[in-house]
Subunit: 346 residues, 2 copies
């Protein structure tokens, strides 16, 4: 068995996965919001143990673990740097791989980028299965992504896939949480959309968004809040989602012109919640930008849902197995090519 | 020996290349501006024969030919469709590969995209040699490009590399010759730049551009005209080149965020003419858009110059050799990996 860990700013999701990629047990808990990276590693280890128990096994039965993490990843060293949403990690570099390995009885631990591994899971096990090349666009708090060419995740020098920070409006574009302006994320990231909604709301514009948020007991405009506001025909919600669709069409259309991929997969909290109708709107929005509008690639919704990140992280391990000497040869020989899911420098 | 053909709207450039990729003979002649695709095929065949003579060989000594062509290419069928700059070809589909083969004694002929093959030549034999992944951006009449991942040209579903039609300004952007607006080519393609210069000139703005053009006996603002106007400190030329640099920085910076490539190679008539100083300006212009500004990939100038397209077309043939049974086994076994220079669906 392998453990896959999806490390997010809000929650840690663990899946225990067998060699055929079936999920055998899970655990989900809140990410510590105070403390140090060591506390995060402790929490992950406890979550892996709980997930093992859920699967009816013990830590001893787990051969390896993969972690999908935010921040900047050094794939070889297993370090994570500048993970701004994690406690004590904003400017730190932390050896999450080795530290977690120590806490899990010395098993090999591989670290990858959170969105990249989720895209990898979609191409090997999810909506991207029929395709050999893919652009994954994950609409969540921010906008992340991943690119797959010839069935292999392309990581470049480690950070490929950042479609959220490709330009849509270079001049006079909306402010982006990254500090730049006019990026896709400035229009289609939930965080940027919430900032804009709050501004308009404070300026006296009417919206049901914040009332729905309170009713749902949330402090943020979560994906479900947007969904409900749209269903109630809230004008401001509609306007901000329209803007997100427009910007997604421009950025994804541009990326399709550059890469001519077989398919686009939309994921992330907001993407999964709004589903195929959103994907269909993005298809229409990208066509005017495409040089081959009559040959637009299909835009699909990620299939693996909330567990996609954890399952994708477990795929890091098949790859690791190769390097550490086929500890679990079965998993390293599946027909879908996960023996070498990642390409680039590492 | 192989023949490589760079088929352009203005000229046909042929290079006769040996198995070590040395150019042994060349021919260059004007592309027919009237007539049919058959006339273009006749002219190419005559040019190949002349280049063979220049190399001290005959047509019988040429084992295969590759053609880098504008328009939409079907790599398997060897057809070229919608090549708007070629006579009688705007809406036609023409079997250039088979037709040229017939005119060259039945040797195999492979057709590729003109800019893609030039980028392929740069990564295997030119400025991109030290790198495994590359973004090629060719600034010419239009703006074309190509992407290389893990030493292999990525063609996607045939048309990958079109960075000229990635968005810079989605709203209120400059008009692009493609009919859309705000594309990179709308700012950095010589054709779009000339249209803007003529508009400003007709509106009474001063410039030396058109005087220099006439002095050089040209009817278009060729790359040398822009170069000379810049050297004479012409304000309008400076402004339009500044704009091209700015837009290139935005579009290339976005592509680097998405693909995290090892290097960027600037080519094309204008790119090669303005050279490394232009490339250095593009580096500075892209940094504000990069999510890793301190780890910007080097921006280099294409090394193979005017012959790059023809040499790149000859590389199509190494690939073809594999399919037709190692007709020239030496060329198919060079250490730089040109045995499989192209990846995607074909």
């Amino acid at each position: 068995m392998h453990a896959g860990v999806d490390l997010g700013g809000t929650k840690i999701q663990v899946a225990i996965v067998d060699r055929d990629h079936n999920v055998r047990g899970t655990d989900r808990r809140l990410t510590p919001t105070v403390g140090t990276p060591d506390d995060v590693a402790d929490t992950i280890a406890a979550s892996v143990e709980a997930a093992a128990k859920d699967a009816g096994i013990t830590l001893d039965d787990i051969c390896a673990a993969g972690v999908g993490s935010p921040g900047q990843i050094d794939l070889n060293a297993g370090t994570v740097s500048n993970a701004g949403n994690l406690p004590g990690w904003k400017t730190a570099t932390y050896a999450l791989g080795p530290q977690l390995s120590k806490r899990l009885g010395g098993i090999p631990v591989s670290i990858g980028n959170d969105v990249q591994v989720a895209v990898d899971a979609e191409v090997h096990l999810g909506a991207g299965r029929p395709y050999k090349s893919l652009l994954g666009v994950f609409l969540g708090t921010g906008v992340g992504g991943g690119v797959v060419f010839g069935d292999e995740l392309w990581v470049g020098r480690g950070a490929a896939g950042e479609i959220g920070h490709t330009v849509v409006e270079a001049k006079g574009g909306a402010p982006c949480p990254c500090g730049r302006s006019g990026c896709l994320e400035a229009y289609a990231g939930r965080s940027a959309m919430e900032i804009q909604a709050r501004k308009w709301h404070e300026a006296g514009k009417k919206t049901k968004l914040f009332k729905i948020m309170e009713e749902k007991g949330k402090t943020r405009l979560a994906s479900g809040v947007w969904d409900k506001a749209l269903k109630k025909n809230d004008k401001m919600a509609k306007k901000l989602i329209d803007r997100a669709v427009w910007a997604s069409g421009e950025a994804i259309g541009s990326a399709v012109n550059l890469l001519d991929v077989d398919a686009v997969v939309i994921g992330g909290g907001l993407g999964i919640r709004l589903g195929q109708p959103l994907a269909d709107r993005i298809t229409e929005a990208m066509k005017p930008r495409l040089i081959k509008p009559n040959d637009a690639p299909p835009v699909l919704v990620a299939e693996l849902g909330d567990l996609g990140g954890a399952i994708g992280a477990s795929l890091l391990v098949s790859h690791l197995d190769e390097r550490v000497g086929q500890k679990t040869p079965g998993a390293a020989r599946n027909p879908q090519g996960t023996t070498k899911p990642i390409k680039g420098h590492h």
